[in-house]
Point group: C2
């Protein structure tokens, strides 16, 4: 199957999206991957705005993984190709392949979603949805699935109060903000010299404006493992695994 069987969305790295290496940050790349997911969901008739209006349902992101060979530089143009890759009873997979302007693949991503009823908050059976099933493209997932990340007993590295600039229109924390909070606790040279190879994230619980999240971190030779827990009851909200190139 040709790699043009799925749509590709075009973006460009803006000056405010690069870090001190003059390359796009993982946070921006994750934001645009989710933006492409939204654009493509709109295209196939399953965008959140539409779902919420007509179906009283919405998407919830449960896992995400991103693998990066090269972070594009300021002003570089790139595309994000995306497709629905798998439909199970309670979850569906959306995959992504990122190409630069020369057509070279530089990153891949995969995400796992549930569709929930907005009143009951229960997941809906996606196999029963014939229109959604029609959107599936039987292209293999371009990378290992997002890891299920275990609890950690790491050092407490930061307490973050959820602020205005963290939240979306539902007053929930924006997905990539958890990653930003984690990245902001890391030594600068991890991002500029060691280099991020792969990021796995598990989203476990939503957080809201004004709540406090404590971040724990445990490090190994090749990876940093994070868990965010909500105060005061220590409910886990998010876990992530940063795997470094060196």
């Amino acid at each position: 199957m040709s790699d043009h069987s799925y749509p590709r969305y075009s973006y460009q790295v803006l000056p405010r999206e690069v870090d001190l290496t003059k390359r796009v940050t993982i946070i921006t790349l994750g934001d645009y991957i989710l933006h492409a997911a939204g654009e493509d969901a709109d295209r196939i008739g399953f965008g959140v705005n539409h779902l919420q209006e007509v179906g009283n349902s919405t998407w919830v992101l449960s896992r995400m993984a991103i693998e990066v060979d090269r972070f594009p530089a300021e002003y570089e143009r790139y595309t994000i190709g995306t497709w629905v890759g798998e439909i199970n009873r309670l979850t569906t997979t959306r995959n992504f392949i990122l190409h630069d302007a020369q057509g070279r693949q530089f990153a891949t991503a995969t995400t796992q979603w549930a569709m929930i009823d907005m009143q009951s908050r229960h997941p809906l059976d996606l196999r029963e949805n014939v229109n959604y099933a029609a959107a599936l493209i039987p292209e293999p997932c371009p990378m290992d699935r997002p890891a299920k990340i275990a609890r950690i007993e790491g050092e407490e590295v930061e307490t973050h109060r959820v602020r205005y600039s963290d939240i979306d229109f539902n007053q929930h924390t924006n997905t990539m903000k958890y990653i930003q909070w984690m990245v902001d606790t890391l030594p600068l040279e991890y991002l500029t010299e060691r280099g991020l190879r792969r990021l796995d994230i598990n989203f476990l619980h939503e957080t809201r404006y004004g709540q406090q999240v404590v971040l724990h971190r445990a490090s190994t030779d090749s990876a940093d493992h994070f868990e965010g827990v909500l105060l005061p009851d220590q409910t886990p909200v998010c876990r992530a695994l940063f795997t470094w190139c060196k």
Copy 2:
């Protein structure tokens, strides 16, 4: 003079750029205003990359003011028109008018810059630069100039450590991050109900990765006044005045 005498740059409000009112944030609007300034400076041959390479000089933003009648909604397209409006010995003014897709003006901005020598850090005399003088468009400034904001003795509201996600490629704090830190200390209803009418900012001193900035705030009936000072010596780094619609 027609309002088409200056170039206009086109943008669109992305989902991740809106707040809980589903309208673009002042932080995003400020970022795009500065982005348009950069695009237009590149066009006239005075972009920072070019200045730093060939002239060993760079731009420093000293003041900024933004007035907003209406914040565009998610997915709205808008343009930012911008031009060099005034050239003095040590500073130059760049103005902005923002229009929505229907051609209605919804915001204005004005900024004051110095061009400095990168070694000596001294400002250069802009009147001597004939190529820069040629870029001037004698269109009046669309609003009152940015206020010179006095010292304040307000309450201490936050201490912020400058992080990875705050800094640009020079490891200096990104311009609009100061505003984000301030906005994040305000009650949510200021942004969603009172509504921002005008923002004045004075940039006094650069801050770098790892430094700590203490924010002070003083409130009046119609405005909130901020000052950020660097620890440990209390050097003022930024002052801002948020004026509310009600």
